[in-house]
Amino acid sequence: MRILIKGGKVIDPGRYDGIADILIENGKILEIGPDLGSRLSALGSRYSEPGTQCPAPSTQHPVPSTQHPVPSTQYPEPRIIDASGKIVVPGLIDMHVHLREPGHEYKETIESGCRAAVHGGFTAICPMPNTDPVNDNGAITAYILKKAQEANTARVCPVAAVSKGLEGKGLCEYGELKDAGAVALSDDGRPVMNSQLMRRALEYAKGFGMLVISHCEDLELAGSGVMNEGAFATRMGLHGIPNAAESVMVMRDIALCELTRSRLHIAHVSTKESVEAIRAAKKRGASVTAETAPHYFTLTEDAVGEYDTHAKMNPPLRSAADREAVLEGLADGTLDVIATDHAPHSSLEKEVEFDHAANGIIGLETSLSLSLRLVEKGILSLSSLVEKMAINPARILGLEKSLTPGSAADITLIDPDFGYTADACKFQSRSRNTPFDGWEMKGRAILTMVGGVIVFEV
């Protein structure tokens, strides 16, 4: 089975940026270059030699093949996908999602979450371990991977727990988790408050070459807070969460990262102080990376409005100055990754008093459209957007993700001009908890391919 993606603007940062065709065979990228369609017959089923992977357009001498069709038995006619006017990028990766299975299947299943992912243009997602039971042992990791295989859409790369039961008391068996297929470790949602445990986790993970992802929150400082601390929270009578609840832990974890010389990834950065701390740490050469989520660069605390629980998340939506700092962090590379923190909740958790509402919003099906706004506004180039949504998460997690011939054909086709109204009722996710319902969007994924298989097409 051959597929030819024809005439799209191919963006594979550092490797390719221009109008090109991509030929896919047996789930892998066979060839990338301008005008492949006209010389299909010349393209054998073997990968090209190194050095011809990214040929300069001027060296191409297309052979007119239409007059001499190749016998279909040898090279069957490929399915041709017309990508003219579209953007073709390496499959997007969301390295921070919650799939709720096992345990809370009424909110999301691995199947529905994967479907939401590919509809949003993601070919791989990393579910966090706060399921029930917690993904803190090889059996649960294996279960998640089995369910993902059955779903057969997006790739699922599980993140396992740092501590047993997310209780912050003892280390999980990282060796077993790695063998089972876990790609990273995190106590997301239940921050590691014990600094000694965090230090040892960073060191112990290093022995297995595993990454620790930190949800930075000082639970005592956050206290009973339910939204950003400030005048808005005061007026609404809601308990505030100060920026420092996040940044003191960002600073602690950076210190521990430097102490242990281990790799650290900081999840969902929301404050100015965190961005500054990470920028300074990177300047010192610390092996720290960081992500933020579309809601932190799109919304501010004002979205809470009149107690809208769809604007309640952890960390909370912050001030305009924080949002500005997050945008600067994205622009200057301090923030490496855009990840959604896709957190499905049903009306049971959201149609309640603001104090009692669960934290989090779904994000897989709005992330790309919201991120494309940054390109529209000139904050990010298309190329750096692809870095933050595909290349950098792959590099940080040690996953393969590029359009190099020979690599798996995980590809996302983006129509940057596709206008639509976000309609949560039509989302693939089992949950509807999004503050972006009804938003006018421009640009989205129109085709998602995983391993050469088209898993979503508009």
Binding site: A231, A233, T234, R235, G237, L238, Y307, E351, E353
Partner: protein, 315 residues
């Protein structure tokens, strides 16, 4: 009753009431007050109306006050508390409220420990919702009775200096009073330890000082807020002894205030902590006037959200 139109379905907070709305409510309340002085304290104004008192948080004063207000207007009032409601069986607040509405309740008065609970009900119910205190957000009927008390004693709030002293961060009364007092032309100054001053409170239009004498100096009205012992656990203050010494109102401190100062307290009073007994019971204290006006204000609110004069005429 007055012929002015009052078109609000709900009373949720002071921010959504204009100075004209407040004046109308207080004018109505003053007329209502006379009913309570009669030997037979009952008028048929809200006969056949159903008022549900939906109290999810302990309350003696406010609940009794609304109950008496409803009964004096001949409405049928029903009390529900958290422990006797289906909430203990796991029913959500919205479900419970929808069930009450399905029984054709006209007005739902709600007290709840979560800020925004009244707003949530108002959004999903056709019945009128009166907020009787939600979390640390708002307590509009308390603010209205406080404004009524000040207006009664001083004639007007215009240009008055009102000090609110104590744990502002946990006080819905403080928030509603800042909004209400400033709308009626008063200057509000807040005092207390920095731990009890919530971030950005000055954006509501009040000034902040950490020295009680500074707040009291030249004050026309001093409102003391209740200090809850359990706030020591969240490190808001070191203890009652120091609080009383540094932030408590006593006879000595009162000397800084104007000669005709009014001492107010939304209750319940912690005698000897935020206010010394002699001041609480002294000549400047209007604490019981506040309670008395509470019934009148709540009668006015029930009457006005129920359609006011138009419905009374058709009765």
């Amino acid at each position: 009753m007055t012929d002015m139109q009052f078109i609000k379905k709900d009373i949720l907070d002071m921010e959504s009431l204009s100075a004209e709305d407040i004046t109308l409510i207080l004018d109505t309340a003053e007329k209502m007050k006379e009913i309570s002085d009669r030997p037979i304290k009952k008028v048929p104004t809200l006969r056949g109306r159903t008022v549900v008192l939906f109290f999810y948080e302990a309350s003696t004063r406010t609940r009794t006050s609304f109950d008496i207000a409803a009964k004096r207007l001949s409405a049928d009032s029903i009390s529900i508390s958290a422990s006797t409601s289906s909430m203990v069986k796991g029913e959500t607040l919205i479900d419970t409220a929808r069930n009450l509405e399905a029984m054709n309740s006209d007005v739902i008065v709600i007290r709840h420990s979560s800020s925004g609970a009244a707003n949530m009900l108002a959004k999903c119910l056709k019945a009128s919702v009166i907020n009787a205190g939600d979390g640390t957000h708002a307590h509009p009927s308390q603010a209205l009775l406080d404004i009524m008390t000040v207006r009664e004693k001083k004639g007007s709030l215009e240009g008055l200096r009102i000090a609110i002293i104590g744990d502002v961060s946990h006080s819905r009364v403080a928030r509603s009073n800042i909004a209400g007092f400033t709308k009626m032309g008063a200057e509000v100054v807040l005092a207390g330890p920095p731990t009890m001053m919530p971030a950005g409170i000055e954006t509501m239009g009040a000034s902040v000082t950490y020295h009680i004498e500074e707040a009291i100096r030249g004050a026309d009205v001093i409102m003391m807020l209740r200090i809850q012992k359990e706030r020591q656990k969240s490190f808001l203050f070191s203890g009652e002894r120091e609080y009383a010494r540094v932030y408590g109102l006593n006879r000595e401190r009162l000397k800084h205030a104007k000669k005709d100062v009014l001492i107010m307290h939304p209750g319940p009073v912690n005698r000897g902590v935020e206010i010394s007994p002699d001041v609480a019971d002294g000549p400047y204290s209007v604490i019981l006037d506040q309670v008395n006006n509470g019934v009148a204000v709540r009668m006015a609110l029930l009457y006005l959200v129920s359609g006011g004069a138009r419905n009374a005429d058709s009765d």
